[in-house]
């Protein structure tokens, strides 16, 4: 059964003219400007024999050359940087948090994006980090503490219970993942499982839009390449709402979201969303959509 799914998935990528296989992505760090400066981290890591190369389209991202684990060095413990893959640094860049704003990170653990949001806010304003799974709260707390974040509140509860109105909303949705983390990934996935994820993602995206103020921004992202979890989620949710519009991500890498897949036509402006195909981008697989909330509906339903 699993071989069937594996071939199904590979065939789907092939139809979209992509060949997806496991690839090693370099270790990428995000320099924590709440703790130090780019120059100091470059100098400091030189002493650990680590060379950093700036990633041009990221504000604080660098690829590293190191035979030692970047997570075992003193500068890591001091919170000078966070280990965060290239693509997963992009959603917060697109969200573009500003000091003083009120922002919600809906699925926060282990805190890579939460700490990135606080960093861009210069610790001014508030970021609300939701995480329902108790066993993931510890890593979230430790990373927030290590990264010197002082404007975060962690809520250990289901984000569907969240209340309030936010300037910006980040929904880095739980998804079926991709090959970057696991060589055996293809044989562990089923189309049914992917569709199950999509149902949850749709529910979360509706909630994200409800939590966003009029004129605010929702960024939706997954590390999945499956259209069901990406373009289809966006299409299904946005066609039910009159208070949203897709916006250009202004991101210089990646390709447009799919307009059509398996004879399913996706919503208007879907090409403004971004897909990061690992066979053409220096990243893992990823999908990002930027949604503007245009006007609030007075009543739900």
């Amino acid at each position: 059964m699993s071989t069937n799914t594996k071939n199904t998935l590979l065939d789907r990528y092939k139809k979209l003219l992509h060949k997806i296989e496991y690839k090693e992505v370099p270790t990428v760090i995000r320099v924590n400007t709440l703790a130090t400066t780019h120059e100091k981290v470059i100098e400091r890591l030189k002493k650990e024999l680590v060379e950093l190369t700036k990633i041009p389209f990221l504000r604080n991202g660098y690829t590293t050359t190191s035979k030692r684990s970047m997570a075992s060095m003193t500068p890591y413990m001091l919170g000078y940087y966070y280990i965060q893959e290239t693509a997963s640094q992009i959603p917060v860049e697109i969200l573009n948090p500003q000091p003083g704003e009120k922002i919600i990170d809906m699925c926060a653990a282990p805190g890579g994006k939460t700490t990135q949001i606080s960093q861009m806010m210069k610790n001014e304003g508030a970021v609300h980090a939701y995480e329902s799974k108790k066993h993931r709260i510890d890593s979230l707390m430790n990373n927030i503490e290590r990264m010197r974040v002082t404007n975060a509140i962690i809520f250990n509860k289901d984000v569907l219970e969240a209340k309030g109105e936010y300037d910006k909303v980040l929904l880095d949705a739980p998804c079926s993942g991709n090959l970057a983390s696991d060589k055996e990934w293809l044989s562990k996935r089923t189309i049914e499982g992917i569709k199950e994820n999509a149902k949850i993602q749709e529910k979360l995206l509706h909630k994200a839009i409800n939590l966003c103020k009029e004129g605010g921004i929702v960024v939706y992202s997954t590390c999945s390449l499956e259209p069901e979890e990406n373009e289809e989620v966006i299409t299904n949710v946005l066609k039910l709402r009159k208070d949203t519009t897709l916006e250009d991500t202004d991101c210089s890498i990646g390709s447009s979201g799919l307009k059509i897949f398996d004879s399913k036509k996706y919503c208007e402006n879907i090409e403004l969303t971004k897909r990061f195909w690992p066979d053409e981008c220096p990243t893992q697989g990823f999908f990002i959509a930027k949604i503007r909330k245009t006007k609030s509906k007075r009543k739900e339903k």
């Binding site: 003193t74 709260i137 010197r148």
Partner: protein
């Protein structure tokens, strides 16, 4: 002792006077916070955690380090041992501004505070070190 008392204890033992209004500190599950408005699992600035002795956050460790004269500096070997939770030996110490039996802030060769220890018999006995950020997660996994 609760976390706040432990925090005051290490500040006193290190002779560090911090500009911190202690009355506004709130403890939640052994973690001490300032700027906490409502009782959440985590909010605002984490001062540190309750332990055998207080385990300061990196922000607090740096603040104490600026306010104390009781310090010991370690070489790279000593830094490695210490951040693995071990004691540092006499030969690992490159400089000290502390007397025997004092609690000290431990620094590496880059002037970065890496923990707290007891300076005893020429050695530094590990009381807390920032390698805990890595070990905590392994412990809790």
């Amino acid at each position: 002792m609760n976390a706040k008392q432990q925090f005051l204890e290490i500040c006193k033992l290190l002779g560090a006077k911090l500009q911190q209004d202690v009355s506004e500190l709130i403890e939640v599950n052994g973690r001490l916070f300032s700027n906490m408005k409502e009782k959440n699992v985590y909010e605002g600035k984490c001062i540190g955690m309750k332990g055998r002795m207080f385990r300061p956050s990196i922000l607090t460790l740096e603040q104490i380090s600026e306010k104390t004269a009781q310090k010991v500096w370690l070489n790279a070997k000593g830094e490695f041992l210490f951040t693995c939770g071990r004691d540092a030996w006499k030969e690992n110490i490159t400089r000290k501004t502390a007397r025997e039996q004092q609690l000290v802030i431990v620094l590496n060769q880059h002037e970065e505070p890496i923990g707290i220890g007891w300076y005893r018999n020429g050695k530094v006995e590990n009381e807390y070190d920032i390698g805990d950020y890595l070990r905590r997660e392994r412990r809790n996994r």
